[in-house]
Amino acid sequence: VTVRRTVLTVLAAAVAALAFARPAAALAPLHVGYADDLFLGADADAWLSRAHSDRATVVRVIMNWAFVAPTRPADPTNPADPAYNWTTWDQFVVRAHQRGLTPLMVVIGAPPWAEGPHRDPSAATGSWRPDAQAYGAFATAAARRYSGSFGGLPRVRYWQAWNEPNLAYAITPQWNGATPESPEIYRALVNAFYAGVKAAVPSDLVVAGATAPYGCPGVCGAIQPMTFWRALLSKPTYFDIWDHHPYGLAGGPASHALNANDITVPDMGKLGKLIAAAVRRGTARPAHRKQAWVGEISWDSSPPDPRGVPLAKQARFLEGALYLLWRQHVSTVAWFQIGDSPPNPSYAATSQGGTYFVDGRAKPSDKAFRFPFTAYRKRAGVSAAWGMAPKAGTVLVQRRTRGRWRTIARTRAGRSRVFLRSVRVRAGAVLRARAAGRTSLTWRVGLDG
């Protein structure tokens, strides 16, 4: 009996020790990266190196189907078909691989030969009823080319079916009378894409949706994302990961969308529930838990965009968005973009959401990207100090008091770099984190929630 008691006591102690040890180790990872076609351009090497030094893991680029296949290939599933021109993406994949970056290919834009009949002359290029069968065959060719066993090219594991299919620039028509039509068109595309990718490399993963944040409450050129996803998942749809782009307004990452069917950062959980329900219902297939990704998000900064948010605010919004998305179980976030776009034709029509200016100078948001730190209030007098340290190890949470920094809490970041620690601080307190010899930007408690 004594031996049994001793064993039970030891077991109980071990379980208790594991339970206490768990929080630091069990924090979900957050993979961060950039979505930017600068990675395909003339200065791709420099921009990919900046992404690497920023500790980005994912680099998301557009693969333009019409560009790769301007004419119909004789053997569409064969990546070596002479109709295909992969040069730009071959170079990108090699450069990304050299830096240990994970590519995400977004395949969009039907070639003229793959658009549907009776084309509306006002429809955006490559958007009109794309041929799902041809799209699926192209997906097979692309996944075979970047399977890791073709011509010495590295592997691409993540493939995204189209982009922002709830907008008319991407898919037309959006509506058939008062009935959403783009979800029907998109379902055929993503199902063909999924089958095409998996036929080539079954372990590759397919990202679906990548919906834009807003639509009109009625019939117009944009369908609200919740409406789009509900219609999409009314019938069987195949994907591994869902993606949404929760671009926010001036209120920042904690501000909900104005309309119930639009989705900004704090509404991501709502969309996650809808998709989880579709998995249970059997329309989101295969029946496994879907990862949640954010393939694009950012706020334009001023400078250079006179209508953007101040540089310090952009940095704060970046950090806040990362935390609020992580809290809603988003596992990957790609910031749009790494470098600002030139203002052609105008600042209002282009993105200046980069963490670098167009000339390659870093903004404060770059420091935020490298070492994000937030301290949103949990309840009166208690905040959740959250961040991503430069690397695994000890993290100090510090408060500024009379001009001096004093350590108020100590925690540990695991391999995922993520750390989380409750701290007792009042609204208005100024905090920062220190880890691996580096400091985060400062965070004023209660400014944004």
Binding site: L167, A212, P213, G215, G218, C220, L249, G308, Q352
Partner: protein
């Protein structure tokens, strides 16, 4: 004095007209007002009264409140003019191209109208202040 007052009232009338052009059907992310696709439709005024913002910011409002009858007239017109009606009457129901065109044109008018509004309000405030100063000088001279 009469000409100053007349001009001020004229400015006030213009201010009253500008908000109808200024009213927009959606809110864009900062710095991306020309990208219609990323514009969020503003729900009806009735449902989201707490979210709608006055056309007059607090600092300008305070200046107008202290600018006498002309300032009060400008404030009333700018706050309660055609803008409020515009919010009720902007449910989108047109085909895609038409709405897209309407949104972008409203966006452009909105940005120009916004600048014009502030210029006109500033002119009105300056004129009202000048009128007050003139009146006081005349009163003290008489």
């Amino acid at each position: 004095m009469r000409s100053v007052r007349g001009f001020t009232l004229g400015v006030a009338a213009l201010v009253a007209l500008v908000p109808s052009a200024h009213a927009s059907v959606c809110q864009a992310p900062p710095g991306r007002s020309a990208i219609v696709e990323y514009c969020e439709s503003v729900p009806s005024a009735k449902k989201t009264a707490h979210r709608t913002h006055s056309a007059v910011p607090p600092s300008t409002r305070r200046a107008l409140e202290h600018a006498g009858p002309a300032g009060a007239a400008v404030l009333t017109l700018a706050s309660n003019g055609p803008r409020a009606k515009r919010h009720v009457a902007r449910a989108p129901a047109s085909p895609p191209a038409a709405v897209s065109g309407l949104s972008s044109s409203l966006g452009r008018v909105g940005s120009v109208g916004s600048l014009l509004l502030w210029v006109l309000i500033a002119v009105a405030v300056v004129l009202a202040a000048a009128a007050l100063v003139l009146r006081r000088r005349r009163a003290s001279a008489g």
